[in-house]
């Protein structure tokens, strides 16, 4: 054993020798020692003498100068990089020796980095990557505004677009489209496809080239042009199995042939509307060119900005001239990027901010753990300092340990990020999935690395600087207590972590509260048992179509499990548009106009939807003539009360014909986030309105909605095998889709808040458990002097409680600020109340008690005898 000891002494001494002489030094001493061991018979006094001689190697090493080395002219490497490998190896070994500590630290960092990488890749693809169009920052959406009626974005009429085209110089080209639907037959089951009816210039304005085939020509875009169609990538794959020879094939749309001329690129998910096929706009020559129906995209002239275009159009639309517009209609130019992604931007940034906060918590956690562990290694640092390690050297060692942990956590976190993205992808509602996508690319990778480096800095370097300094001083002073600065630092980290966790929990609770407020808002209808389906009838003859729909209503009401059947041109929640102005008779002002949503209905629509009739009568099954039912809000603003409405008259459109109001029903919310709105209902059976052909069937059912859905398909198929039935969905599912985005944000927020809680608890536990270990002797003495185990536990808990209260208090202050901000910023959040942050504080305090109680219980079981003997 003694030879090994002497070798070890020499090895230690060699650390003091200049690097260039070190090998020679070791070889010389080892050979001398080996010779000594073999030369003489060993006595104990001889062994002792050899050990003392071996200690002389320290003096030898210190006497050596770099120029004593074998290669004396080579300057030894000094500074940051020398011994780096050695330090990394040392740190890795050290970490391997404490697998529990390492596992917690690495898992903490991995969770933080993983969550951030996942969210960043969403942010990257959805907000930072430009739209998949040529020069996307030159694309703008152009809207008409009607400030007098409070309409910020209205679709312009063809005449208005012509005017813009002729006058605007800042917008080089305009592309227009409108939306519609067609029935596709001959490719599997009959299906209803959504269409984008596009002007010839739209693809050029966007700068998109079809992946197969070619673009529309100006001739094809005319009314009497050839019937052609462009397939979106998704429709090409879904309905035609990605057939590479699809271009030139004829497919059947609305019963007539149309030639496929091209397939659009896959990367067009962010088009203004999601559609299956693009067809020529083909406005008929007799179309009302004052009818507001076009969506318009513009490409700015080189060097122009959206603001400049806005100014120019504002000035020119009101310029004197023969076609001067004086009807109070304005223009609104907005960047296409803002138009398409503006909706998801705040939510995504919020989630990103939250995930960054979680990373910060993870960093603080690891920093506190490293600091605490550093304090436990005072003896090691004492030896290092005694052997000549400088403070910089200690800082480097601690930093490298932090970096090794962060590196391992970062790699694991990247893998975790991919898993998290998969999970998020499943949770993501379809409405967001079309605008939000993700992909691991170089930028995401760079982000993950940056996050890891940041983690290293916060969790490694900061405690190393603060810790190493105080450690050295404390060892020199010979005291066994950590310095005040270190203790403050450790507790400061903990307090910061707790405060952040409270804010995150409070934020999540706030969202839960506002979400449940949304869910429980009355919709004006009873969603239980409602099944809706789209049965669009592509029949150009009004009378035949009406007859089909009347027959459909009769057969649907006779289905088992169906109590009422109704029709409408746009079910609430799914369809939110369709507003127009109605002129009011008998209101004192002959020109008085009120805005309301017009809906063409049939059958027992009100009974099927659960909308109450509050005055007058409902439509009869074969209602004819110009009659209307208005909603309560409309009646009140037109004539002052709902009872006054029946018998009054309104006018719709420019035909100058009066419509008799026969009844009043309750108001309906068109989307969960919208207010209750005015409606005017008209019967589709009246020849005047039969042109509108309601395509949404609403069934009130008592049994299994699935069975009703199957039955309905059979009924429609029996009436016309070519008639598609699509989007069969219960009203509850429709609502949960509408809540989707909010629910998604909520789920992410809750997950992050739970993560924050977990990390904060781990941090508390780690630090409390360290504090107990550090004070085992003190606890032993207290117990020996007569303290009860219970008193010890209370004492430990009490100290944890102080810092918890400080942290939670800080968090509550920040949470209150958040609450004030939320009140001001979040629409529909009338009074969030104080309970979310109070609940968050309670949850955290409970977690803190558990985290501190485990070490406190351990302290209770301390055997004073063993502890004191160990000292």
């Amino acid at each position: 054993m003694t030879p090994r000891l002497t070798r070890a002494i020499v090895w230690c001494a060699a650390r003091l020798a200049p690097a260039v002489s070190r090998d020679r030094f070791i070889a010389e001493w080892r050979s001398e020692l080996a010779a000594a061991w073999t030369a003489q018979p060993m006595t104990w006094s001889r062994r002792w003498a050899l050990c003392r001689t071996a200690c002389a190697s320290f003096a030898h090493a210190r006497a050596l100068r770099p120029e004593d080395g074998l290669v004396a002219h080579v300057q030894p490497r000094r500074g940051w990089s020398s011994g780096l490998r050695q330090d990394v190896a040392f740190a890795s070994r050290l970490i391997g020796r404490q697998p529990g500590f390492a596992a917690i630290a690495i898992a903490t960092i991995a969770l933080g980095v993983g969550a951030n990488t996942a969210i960043f890749s969403l942010v990257n693809r959805s907000l930072l990557t430009p739209l998949p169009y040529a020069d996307p920052d030159r694309l703008v959406a152009v809207w008409e505004t009607v400030p007098a009626l409070g309409i910020p974005e209205n679709t312009p009429a063809p005449n208005t677009l012509d005017l813009w085209r002729s006058r605007a110089h800042t917008i080089a080209s305009f592309g227009e489209y409108t939306v519609g639907s067609v029935n596709l037959t001959g490719a599997g089951d009959p299906t209803r496809l959504t269409t984008l009816r596009v002007g010839a210039s739209l693809l050029d304005v966007l700068g998109v080239t079809p992946v197969l085939g070619r673009n529309l020509t100006a001739d094809e875009a005319r009314y009497d042009g050839a019937r052609v169609v462009l397939l979106t990538h998704a429709a090409w794959i879904r309905y035609f199995a990605g057939d590479p020879h699809i271009v030139g094939r004829t497919i059947t749309l609305n019963g007539a042939g149309a030639t496929v001329i091209g397939v659009l690129p896959r990367e067009m998910p962010m088009t203004i509307q999601t559609a299956d096929v693009w067809v020529p706009l083909a406005l008929p020559p007799d179309v009302n060119r004052e009818s507001r129906m076009l969506f318009v995209v513009g490409r700015l002239a080189p060097g122009a900005t959206a603001t400049a275009a806005q100014r120019e159009l504002d000035a020119k639309m009101h310029a004197p001239g023969p076609d001067r517009r004086d009807d109070g209609i304005g223009v609104y130019v907005e960047s296409l990027d803002e138009q398409l992604r503006g909706g998801v931007r705040p939510d995504l940034w919020m989630v990103f901010g939250v995930s960054a906060a979680v990373l910060l918590i993870a960093c603080l956690n690891v920093a506190a753990m490293l600091l605490v562990r550093g304090l436990g290694r005072r003896r090691e640092f004492t030896v290092r300092t005694a052997l000549g390690a400088s403070r910089a050297r200690l800082v480097r060692l601690l930093t490298i340990e932090g970096a090794v942990l962060a590196g391992a956590g970062g790699v694991l976190g990247l893998g975790l990020g991919v898993v998290v993205l998969r999970i998020i992808g499943r949770l993501m509602p379809a409405s967001i999935a079309s605008t939000v996508s993700w992909q691991l690319d170089a930028r995401v990778l760079a982000f993950a690395i940056a996050a890891t480096v940041l983690t290293t800095i916060v969790s490694g370097i900061v405690p190393a600087f603060v810790g190493a300094g105080s450690l050295v001083v404390s060892t020199r002073g010979g005291g066994s207590d950590e310095r005040r600065a270190t203790r403050l630092m450790r507790n400061g980290l903990l307090v910061g972590e707790l405060a952040l966790a409270v804010v995150l929990l409070a934020g999540a609770a706030l969202l839960v509260q506002s979400f449940s407020a949304f869910v429980h808002q009355p919709l004006g209808l009873n969603p239980d048992g409602i099944v809706t389906a789209q049965v669009p009838r592509a029949d150009r003859d009004d009378a035949r179509r009406t007859a089909f729909l009347v027959d459909l209503l009769e057969r649907a009401s006779a289905m088992p499990g169906v109590t009422h059947a109704g029709l409408i041109n746009g079910v609430p929640i799914r369809f939110t548009g369709g507003g127009s102005g109605f002129q009011i008779a008998d209101s004192g002002n002959p020109m008085r106009t009120l805005n309301a949503h017009h809906r063409i209905i049939g059958g027992d629509y009100f009974e099927a939807m659960g909308i109450p009739l509050v005055a007058g009568r409902a439509f009869s099954p074969h209602e004819s003539g110009r009659v209307a039912i208005v909603s309560e809000a409309f009646a009140k603003s037109a004539w002052g009360s709902r009872a006054a409405a029946p018998g009054r008259r309104i006018q719709w459109g420019a035909d100058g014909q009066w419509i008799d109001v026969v009844g009043v029903v309750g108001d309906v919310r068109l989307s969960p986030t919208a207010p209750l709105e005015s409606h005017v209902y008209l019967p589709f059976t009246a020849v005047e309105y039969s042109v509108f052909a309601p395509g949404d069937l609403v069934l009130r059912t008592t049994g299994d909605p699935g069975a009703v859905a199957r039955e309905l398909r059979g009924v429609v198929h029996a009436m016309d095998p070519a008639q598609p039935v699509s989007s069969i969905i219960t009203m509850h599912d429709l609502l949960s889709q509408a809540f989707g985005k909010r629910r998604f944000t909520l789920q992410l927020m809750s997950a992050f808040a739970a993560l924050a809680l977990l990390l904060a608890s781990i941090g508390l536990y780690g630090v409390a458990s360290y504090a107990v270990n550090r004070r085992l002797r003190e606890i032993g003495i207290r117990l020996a002097l007569g303290a009860t185990a219970r008193q010890i536990r209370v004492r430990i808990l009490g100290q944890g409680a102080v810092w918890t209260v400080v942290g939670v208090g800080l968090g509550l202050t920040a949470g209150a600020a958040l609450l004030r901000w939320a009140r001001a910023e979040v629409p529909g959040l009338e009074s969030p109340g104080i309970w979310p942050i109070v609940a968050a504080a309670f949850v955290l305090i409970a977690a803190a008690i558990v985290a501190c109680d485990i070490p406190a219980r351990r302290a209770m079981r301390v055997d004073p005898l063993i502890t004191l003997k160990a000292e």
């Binding site: 001398e32 003096a59 030898h60 210190r62 120029e67």
Partner: protein, 109 residues
């Protein structure tokens, strides 16, 4: 080249000059602590009074031990050793040293 050597360095140099070649043997021969011998060896080698080299490996392995480092005196070393020895010799013995009454030492008890 140093003008003079400490007594310890002189003793070490003297031992090497007398043919004691290995570090541990020098320690034994001079009866100085290793912590004195090795720094002295290092310094004198740096000053060119000594030279060191590894002994023949085969010879060492024949004796079943690793090759040791051999110290040898240089011509400079011989010159300095002689000069130093002259100085030491010049210190004549003091005949009545026993009769000197030394002042009490300070600082140490």
């Amino acid at each position: 080249m140093p003008k003079s050597l400490s007594i310890a360095a002189l003793t070490v140099l003297h031992a090497v000059a007398s043919g004691t070649a290995y570090g541990f043997d020098i320690i034994d021969a001079t009866d100085l602590p290793g912590g004195t011998v090795y720094p002295a060896l290092a310094r004198m080698e740096r000053d060119g009074l000594l030279r060191s080299d590894w002994e023949d490996e085969k010879a060492a392995h024949a004796k079943q031990r690793p090759a040791r480092r051999i110290y040898a005196i240089t011509t400079d070393g011989v010159r300095v050793l002689q000069a130093s020895l002259e100085k030491v010799r010049a210190l004549r013995p003091i005949p009545n040293l026993r009769g000197v009454r030394p002042a009490p030492s300070r600082g140490r008890s």
